[in-house]
Structure formats: structure tokens, C-alpha cells
């Protein structure tokens, strides 16, 4: 552990090596970054992961398909709904099941609410890392409202376990639609409030503009997805390029940045929250009636075969690769985690910057160690 040998020894230089994490207030969990510093300037950085490894992919193999869903909740634990969506989508793809329209709409709403919830955490912690305390509390107030909606729908707030192969486990509760509408109606005003606090703030701009720049070509080479890719100006969103759950029926924009810096990624995510509201409003307006579950057997036994299915999670492309041998348990279930691949670009992005920028970059990559370590 540590891979210290890859950082060269430096007996005569002024450089200093520092182990940043895994217990550090700003590494969002248990990320450890080995830093080589020249004063405060970062000569090299090396993320060290694995402190939260639980062997999730192996656990999947002894679960039934529906039984694996709760384990996906614990990958990116700030975005359980999109994790659920990716797994059930992959299994449905092997089985060739089409989900009823109402179930699709519910999934889209849950996923977009989840995007809002995840982005509010990102904004709160990102701002907190950069030293602005208050947004943390403001964003968590809104997140609580989203979690209340989740709780009303499926009984859980964080680990939702909210989808099943073939559809949705429950229909919406009475009044959920109204309460959701109340939330989405007031939410854009709150986003505007946060933006007033940060977007034109001189210090915020000093700390984020031109920090952690990654060019579009580089971003693609590193395999970045989600806001880190779109911040560099690449218009790539799974919801648009490979629509799933009838995303092609909704009108929404894909916000992109221009410079690929922390500030652009900030703007992209802020706009994404507004676009999510837009999608939810459309769902609420034309919510189809009908069943929420397709005709699927009680015990899911997909035919022999394999499938890769990905969704646009709040962090990027989250894909599930399922190999079925025709039995009730997956033969192999691999996760393509967005955070893990986004984190790879960290050394590239922070080289030559200062320690304070490392914090900003970790924040802007919006990593969740549950998904990285699995």
C-alpha cells in the first residue's frame, strides 16, 4: 500500500512528501493523495485508493438480480437512484423487457431528483473546501426536501433500493406529485440564491477560474465523463446520445463549459440542476397512467448472454456490464464507475498548482469513494 517507490527519492532537494488523507477533512471520505511538494507547489500527486473496498462486484455474484439492487445503493451513496437505474437497465436489456411508460417516468423523476440531491452535496462540500461555509447549510436544506420526497416514495432516504427489474416496486403515493411540484417550483429560486453568493464572488472566481484545467482532447483521452467532460466543452451526455427510460421524449439542454476549469464545471453543474427541474416538470405534466411493472417472472432468470448498459449518473457515465449464464444469479457483474475514471485525471490536473488547488480540484471532480473502491 502506498506505492511510495514510484515517487522518486529526493535527498538533496527542498521537496517534501506529504500523505494527504485518508483521514483528512477535505478528501471526501477515504481518498489518500500522496503529494510531493516544493513549498506549497505540487510537483506530483498520486491518488491511493482502496480504503473502502467491500468487494461489491463479487457480492453481486451470489445475489439474485433484484437482490443485487441494495448493493448498488452503496456504490455512489449520494446517488442511489441512478445506480439502481443502471443495474435494472442492464438486466432489462438482456431480457428484452420494456418498462411501462409510467414506470419510466417515475424512474426519470427519481433520477433527476437524485441528480439535484447529488449536486447539492457537491456544491455544499466544494464551497466548504474552498472556505465558504454557509452554502453547505443552504444546499443541505434543499437536499433534505429531496430526501423527504424519496422517503415518501420508497421509505428510504439515502439507500433507496427504489427500482426493480421490469419496472417500479411501488406506484407514487397520493399527493406525491403535488409535493414534488412544490419542490421543483421553488428550487430554481434557491439555485439563483446560491449563485448570487458565489458566481460573481471575487474570491470564488480567483479560486476556481483557471484552476484544474483539462482540455477537451485530454478529457476524452482520460475517459472523463459527466460534468468534468462537459466543463471542457464536449457535449456528451448519455441521456442524449444513448437515451434510456424515454429520455428522448423530454426537452432539455446539455450545458457545456469552454475552458475546462473548475469554474466552468461549477457553472455546468449549476445549470444541470435547472435542467433537471425542467425534466421533472415535464414528467409531472404528462405523467402517464397505467401499471408500473412489466410482466416479469418472480425469479429473474435472464437468458444466457451479456449486456452493457449505462446511464448518466450525476458524476458521469455509470455503466453496468452483466454476464448471465441463464441462472438466477449474475455470472459476472462489472461496474464502470464514473468517479474512478474521473479521479485518474487528478495528477494531470493538479501538477504545478498549489495545495489549496488540490482541494478545489478534488471537489470539482465530485468523487464518491464508495463508487471508486466498490
Amino acid at each position: 500500500m502506498g506505492n511510495l517507490e514510484t515517487l522518486k527519492p529526493f535527498p538533496d532537494s527542498e521537496e517534501m512528501e506529504i500523505s494527504f488523507g485518508p483521514q483528512h477533512p477535505a478528501t471526501h471520505g477515504v481518498l489518500r493523495v500522496l503529494l510531493r511538494l516544493d513549498g506549497e507547489r505540487i510537483v506530483d500527486a498520486k491518488p491511493v485508493i482502496g480504503y473502502l473496498h467491500r468487494g461489491t462486484e463479487k457480492i453481486f455474484e451470489r445475489e439474485t438480480y433484484n437482490g443485487a439492487i441494495p448493493h448498488t445503493d452503496r456504490l455512489d451513496y449520494t446517488a442511489a437512484a441512478t445506480n439502481n437505474q443502471a443495474l435494472v437497465g442492464a438486466v432489462e436489456k438482456i431480457m428484452g423487457v420494456t418498462v411501462p411508460p409510467r414506470a419510466s417516468a417515475i424512474r426519470v423523476m427519481l433520477a433527476e431528483l437524485q441528480r439535484i440531491a447529488s449536486h447539492t452535496i457537491w456544491l455544499g462540500t466544494h464551497a466548504l473546501d474552498i472556505g465558504a461555509q454557509s452554502p453547505f447549510f443552504y444546499t443541505f436544506e434543499e437536499r433534505e426536501k429531496v430526501l423527504d420526497l424519496f422517503e415518501e416514495y420508497c421509505g428510504a432516504r439515502l439507500t433507496l433500493n427504489s427500482m426493480r427489474v421490469g419496472g417500479q416496486p411501488y406506484d407514487l403515493t397520493d399527493g406525491w406529485v403535488d409535493r414534488c411540484r412544490t419542490f421543483v417550483d421553488q428550487f430554481p429560486a434557491r439555485v439563483a440564491e446560491w449563485e448570487r453568493l458565489l458566481t460573481t464572488n471575487r474570491i470564488w472566481k480567483l479560486r476556481t477560474v483557471g484552476v484544474g484545467v483539462i482540455s477537451a482532447a485530454n478529457a476524452i483521452e482520460w475517459g472523463l465523463t459527466g460534468p468534468p467532460l462537459r466543463g471542457s466543452g464536449v457535449k456528451w451526455d448519455i441521456r442524449k446520445v444513448f437515451p434510456y427510460d424515454r429520455y428522448d421524449e423530454y426537452d432539455f439542454e446539455i450545458p457545456v463549459g469552454a475552458n475546462g476549469d473548475t469554474y466552468d464545471r461549477y457553472l455546468v453543474r449549476m445549470e444541470e440542476m435547472r435542467q433537471s427541474v425542467r425534466i421533472i416538470k415535464q414528467c409531472l405534466a404528462k405523467l402517464p397512467d397505467g401499471p408500473v411493472m412489466a410482466k416479469v417472472p418472480k425469479v429473474i432468470k435472464p437468458p444466457k448472454g451479456e449486456a452493457y448498459f449505462s446511464v448518466e449518473s450525476p458524476k458521469g457515465e455509470l455503466g453496468f456490464y452483466v454476464v448471465s449464464d441463464g441462472g438466477a444469479h449474475p455470472y459476472r457483474l462489472h461496474v464502470r464507475p464514473a468517479c474512478f475514471i474521473n479521479l485518474q485525471a487528478l495528477p494531470e490536473m493538479v501538477r504545478g498548482l498549489l495545495v489549496a488547488d488540490l482541494i478545489a480540484v478534488i471537489g470539482t471532480l465530485d468523487i464518491v469513494l464508495g463508487e471508486i473502491d466498490r
Binding site: 506529504i18 453568493l197 474570491i203
Partner: protein, 350 residues
């Protein structure tokens, strides 16, 4: 005061005890005030469990820190590690000896001054003594034998040294206007001038206060103890009473900066209307308020601004902080100093 024992021993001793207690209590309650105000800014309630509405929280905190285990890292430089908090807290408290909280008044026939002493080089004394505090920070950071602490200590040293320059320059403008280094005389000069120095010295006032925020390591200049970067900066390894000393010193320093700003720019204990508005401030309601209350009120206003900053701003990066200090504040305060000097020459006719 016939008896020299009373005049030179008893009275100063009583004053020292009163001022020390008041300052320590003030610093402790400043932390409470901060937690409460910050909480309301952040849609929280803040401490509300200990005592009525949480009013005994600072006492509970102090007791907790007193009885906590005092951990000294195994490989720390023991003596220096011990000296760090002392070097920080002593200057912060010593400075209060020259801060005038109000004018002299009569008590049991004696004339009592609500300050320990009025040194004729008061300002120099304050600037000199408060600079010692930086040694406590850098030595404490170094002695902890922790890389995060050391970086915090070094950041702090650089920050304090560079912000002392514009701070000193902005204080000089006040000296020019008041023609004295004694804090009492400066307040009296503002009384005579009939105008607080904040009006002619608005630029100096702004620079002084911003530098003051930087000097006390407070947001947005709280880099030495930037929680998200350096864990807790120079006092990462400190615990128990030693940590409490750093904590006390930080809050005492905030009170110091606010007090000096009040004295230099806001007329100290003077009521808030210049003398030519006699019609207003002769109102019985205002005249009744004791001078010391005005002083405390103005100081509290500054302390509130400190907290307000903390609730609003992100943090500067280290190099940006240096840029701001050396490339903005020092040139501006130099130009301002010359402008004020010219003004004093032309208007004051000195």
C-alpha cells in the same frame, strides 16, 4: 492619592485583574457570539443546551479543555512546543494594558482611569507587542513535528509579516492627524476635531480592518488554519489547555484589532455624533449612556463584521493573499499616507 502603595501597587493590580478577567471572558463569549450569529446566518440554532439558551456554553467549553488530556507528540520539540501557545497568548493579553476603554472618572473621590496605563508611545507598543505573537504560531507549528502544522506555521509567518506593513502604514495616517502616539490623546484629538478619523481616513480605515482580519487569521484570510487544506494548521497537534491558549489568543486578538480600530477610527468612547450635532447628542437618552458602553458597542460592531465575513466569503489562496498584500494594500496605503500627510499640511496648517 496620597499613599504611593495604593497608587502604584493596589490600583494597577486591581485593574490588571479586572482587565484580564474581562478580556478572557470577552474572548470566551466572543466564541459563543460567533457560534450563535453564524448559526443564524446558516439556518441553524447554534449552541442551546448548556444553561439558558446556551449561555453557559463557553464556560463548559473552557472547563472541558481544562480537564482534557494534554497530549504532546512523541517527537515534538518539547520546550518549544510548550512555548508556542504562551508566546501567542501573552502578547494578545498584554496589548490590553494600553487600550483606553473610557475617559477618566471619579470613584470614591479618587480619579480612576478605565485603562491600565496611558503610554505615550501606545501605538508603537501595540504594534511591537502584537508582532511577537507570530513567533508562537511559527514555533508551535514547527515544534509539533507535523508537516501540516509546519505548513500552517510558515503560511502564518508570511501572512503576518506582509500584512503588518500596510497595517502600520494605515495607522501612521491616524498619527499624522492626531499628532500623538498615545491612544488616549488620539481619542481626545477626535473629540476636539469634532469628527471621527474614519471620515478623513476612510481608506486607511478600510486597509486597517482588512489587514486586521488577515492578522488574526480569520476568514477570508484564514489560510494558516485552513481546515480543508491543512487539517487545523499550526495547532493540529495541540490539545487541552494548550489548544485553548491558541483559541483564546485568536479571539483576544480579534478583540484587540476591533478595540484599536474603535480607538483610532471611530472615536473610542465618544458618543456617535460629532460635537457640532450637539442638539442630537445632548438628548438625555444618549448622554446618559456611559462612554464605556459606546466603546463596547463599536467594538461589538467590528466583531460582528468578522463573523459576517466568515459566513460569506470563500478563502483566498496563499499566493493570492500575498499578491493582495504586497501589490494592492502596500501601494494603496503608501499613496494614502502621502495624501493624508498633504491634507494635514494644507488643512491642519502644521
Amino acid at each position: 492619592m496620597a499613599n504611593p502603595w495604593v497608587a502604584f501597587l493596589l490600583v494597577p493590580l486591581v485593574k490588571i485583574v479586572v482587565i484580564l478577567l474581562a478580556v478572557i471572558l470577552l474572548a470566551a463569549y466572543m466564541s459563543f457570539f460567533e457560534r450563535k450569529v453564524l448559526a443564524y446566518m446558516q439556518i441553524r440554532i447554534g449552541p442551546n443546551r448548556v444553561g439558558p439558551r446556551g449561555w453557559l456554553q463557553p464556560i463548559a467549553d473552557a472547563l472541558k479543555l481544562l480537564v482534557k488530556e494534554d497530549i504532546v507528540p512523541e517527537r515534538a520539540e518539547k520546550l518549544v512546543y510548550f512555548l508556542g501557545p504562551v508566546l501567542v497568548v501573552v502578547p494578545a493579553l498584554v496589548v490590553f494594558s494600553v487600550i483606553p476603554f473610557g475617559p477618566a472618572f471619579k470613584l470614591f473621590g479618587y480619579e480612576v482611569t478605565p485603562y491600565l496605563t496611558d503610554v505615550n508611545i501606545g501605538i508603537l507598543f501595540i504594534l511591537g507587542v502584537s508582532s511577537i505573537g507570530v513567533y508562537g504560531v511559527i514555533l508551535g507549528g514547527w515544534a509539533s513535528n507535523n508537516k501540516f502544522s509546519m505548513m500552517g506555521g510558515l503560511r502564518s509567518a508570511a501572512q503576518l509579516v506582509s500584512y503588518e506593513v500596510p497595517m502600520g502604514l494605515s495607522v501612521v495616517t491616524v498619527l499624522l492627524m492626531a499628532n500623538s502616539l498615545s491612544l488616549v490623546k488620539i481619542v481626545e484629538a477626535q473629540k476636539q476635531a469634532g469628527v471621527w478619523y474614519v471620515i478623513p481616513g476612510i481608506v486607511a480605515f478600510f486597509i486597517y480592518f482588512v489587514c486586521g482580519v488577515a492578522e488574526t487569521n480569520r476568514n477570508p484570510f484564514d489560510l494558516p488554519e485552513a481546515e480543508s487544506e491543512l487539517v487545523a494548521g499550526f495547532h493540529t497537534e495541540y490539545s487541552g489547555m494548550k489548544f485553548a491558549f491558541y483559541f483564546l489568543a485568536e479571539y483576544a486578538n480579534m478583540v484587540v484589532i476591533s478595540s484599536i480600530a474603535t480607538v483610532l477610527f471611530l472615536g473610542g468612547w465618544l458618543p456617535p455624533f460629532p460635537n457640532w450635532l450637539a442638539a442630537v447628542w445632548a438628548l438625555p437618552a444618549l448622554a446618559w449612556i456611559p462612554p464605556i458602553a459606546w466603546f463596547v458597542l463599536k467594538m461589538a460592531a467590528f466583531l460582528f463584521v468578522y463573523i459576517w465575513f466568515r459566513g460569506t466569503f470563500p478563502r483566498y489562496r496563499f499566493d493570492q493573499l500575498m499578491d493582495l498584500g504586497w501589490k494592492v494594500f502596500i501601494p494603496v496605503s503608501l499613496v494614502n499616507l502621502m495624501a493624508v500627510a498633504l491634507g494635514v499640511l494644507l488643512i491642519g496648517g502644521r
